[in-house]
Amino acid sequence: MATAFKVEPAEPVLSVQGLTTSFRVSGDWHAAVRDVSFDLAHNETLALVGESGCGKSMTALSIMGLVPKPAGRITAGRIMFEGSDLVSLDREAMRRIRGNRISMIFQEPMTSLNPVLTVGFQVAEALRYHRAMGGAEADRAALDLLEQVKIPSAARRFKDYPHQFSGGMRQRVMIAIALACRPQVLLADEPTTALDVTIQAEVLALLAELKQAYGMSMVFITHNLGVVAAIADRVAVMYAGEIVEVAAVRELFRRPRHPYTELLLRSIPRVDRHVSHLETIEGQVPSIAAMPAGCRFAPRCPLREARCDAPPPLAGAAHHVVRCWVRSEGGGHG
């Protein structure tokens, strides 16, 4: 959350502009991420939220330069970070940024950790590689990191292997690796989805605390709107490869404008109170090879009109934009 006392740079830390990432499906290129634009402010947490296949993970992989080749490629757009366009950087330059200036953590830490190396070694590795630290120095710094992510008796567990840790502790190890070089931006892709709720709450609190301590910005990818409410400053809702709505977190939950966002919020059973009517969204997300020409949500939308056959732009006041012909005019539904 922004404080009035801190002087914040007006320039966004990361600026994604018109990003389109395409995949080849039986000979034709189709956009899995289409014309995605957002700015990430200093010390801000932006949640990218959407259901499976909406392009939220592919957006993060595009930023990291990790789009699987040759099946996929970035076909348009710029990703501006620290004065350069990440899309045009060569492999070497990208390697210097990845895990150093921009880091990423994933849903399943076990697939990202090397099972035959100790966790201490793996945390220290980032420091040896990017900071050219010597062995002893890197180990000291790594131990300090493991303590910061609150691994109990970190010194004793420094030489343990990933399989000796629980899921929550492994995710803490991943966070320590990601933060080793004090990145400007952390991309967190469903980092708590595989964890139990009590552990999820702990890891979310840890991420919020570390974000503040390190003064970094975070892109938090999730399908869980409860988690969004818990961690985000601002939210971008994605549907079928596009951003359909962006607003500050309180604004989005209080006044959702896009029919998809609104229905989604009303289809969640809540633990804090009784929900008498659970909303559903009929039908399914269109497949990547058969996207509607107009609004991509139109086939499932209860507010559909004739004009929805043309693709709507992301429009509205700067603090709340929505990609919907019906809802972008006037004050929405109040």
């Binding site: 139990d196 709450a201 709107l225 059973p269 809540r270 804090d272």
Partner: protein, 323 residues
């Protein structure tokens, strides 16, 4: 007082496993450590808890898909664990299961029509024509198009496959359905479709459910009462919404406070605890939860708290709520 359809008493199931390298040790996983609860006819009973708490083993032991070590399961007055194979076949028509991932339980090379007809053929429920008609009616009931009969499992989306899983459970006309995380793998918009379908079936056929889930929000919406499990034991039982509005056991309170709510005004409260979560392989002595409990005292570290019924249908195992 509604009729008790299913009574589970001191149900126990331990597994043995080999752990460790290079010198494996045999360990005992205390998956179910004498759990007891009752399901009323027409009720949806939730079993909640985090991974490894034994909730799935409970569902399976009740249906004897895994054979429990000891305890009693009574279905409409009949002891299930004492039933012989022939009697069990009859009882299985009354009790069915729906899994989290229906794809894993469907034969990829068998058309849906055949997959749905098979249980009815096995149980001898009608002539081939009657079975055909029943398959058609079931597909309509779970909201699948009639031509699904001629399709294979891979042609369906996750939500549709769960509909198939539900249709298959319904083929034999059960009274009780054990639903093991039936919506956990689904997207939010699809999850609500399936929940509404299950609720509709409950209303229409008077079905009873044992609904196993880690998602308290889903359980609150679907169930009438729940049991909270921790490391193989039930720590609290109660009706909904009382158990969520006033949870008694510190673990229920922790689960409730940790569950995310889609409202930025309500921030979740993480537990102050930071250590490793113990496992059912070697549960802590005394109350299993004492290592994470903010209220733990000496007695909690030594003696497992006795079960105490605090109100009709409401019970808890915690020294804080002792006599």
């Amino acid at each position: 007082m509604a009729e008790i359809l299913l009574a589970v008493e001191r149900l126990k199931k331990f597994f043995t496993a080999k752990r460790g390298f290079p010198n494996p040790e045999t360990v005992t996983v205390r998956a179910l450590d004498e759990i007891s609860f009752m399901v009323k006819r027409g009720e949806a009973f939730g079993l909640v808890g985090e991974s490894g708490c034994g909730k799935s083993t409970a569902g399976r032991s009740i249906l004897r898909l895994v054979e429990p070590d000891s305890g009693r399961v009574t279905y409409a007055g009949e002891d299930i664990l004492a039933a012989d194979a022939a009697r069990m076949r009859v009882l299985r028509q009354k009790m069915q299961i729906v899994f989290q991932d229906p794809y894993a339980s469907l034969n990829p090379r068998r058309m849906i029509g055949k997959a749905l007809a098979e249980p009815m053929l096995v149980h001898g429920l009608g002539t081939p024509t009657e079975i055909e008609e029943r398959v058609e009616a079931l597909l309509a009931e779970v909201g699948l198009p009639p031509d699904s009969r001629w399709r294979f499992p891979h042609e369906f989306s996750g939500g549709q496959r769960q509909r198939i899983g539900i249709a298959r459970a319904l083929t034999v006309g059960p009274e009780l359905v054990v639903a093991d995380e039936p919506v956990s793998a689904l997207d939010v918009s699809i999850q609500s479709q399936i929940l509404l379908l299950l609720r509709g079936l409950q209303d229409k056929h008077g079905l009873s459910f044992i609904f196993i889930s880690h998602d308290l929000g889903v359980v609150r919406w679907f169930c009438q009462s729940i049991a909270v499990m921790y490391l193989g034991r039930i720590v609290e039982i109660g009706p909904i919404p009382g158990i969520f509005d006033e949870p008694l056991h510190p673990y229920t309170q922790m689960l409730r406070r940790s569950s995310p709510v889609p409202d930025p005004e309500i921030r979740i409260e993480p537990a102050r605890f930071g250590g490793e979560v113990p496992s059912a392989v070697n549960p802590p002595a005394g109350c299993h939860f004492h290592t994470r409990c903010p209220h733990a005292t000496d007695i909690c570290r030594q003696i497992y708290p006795a079960w105490r019924e605090v109100a009709p249908g409401r019970g808890v195992a915690c020294h804080l709520h002792g006599s």
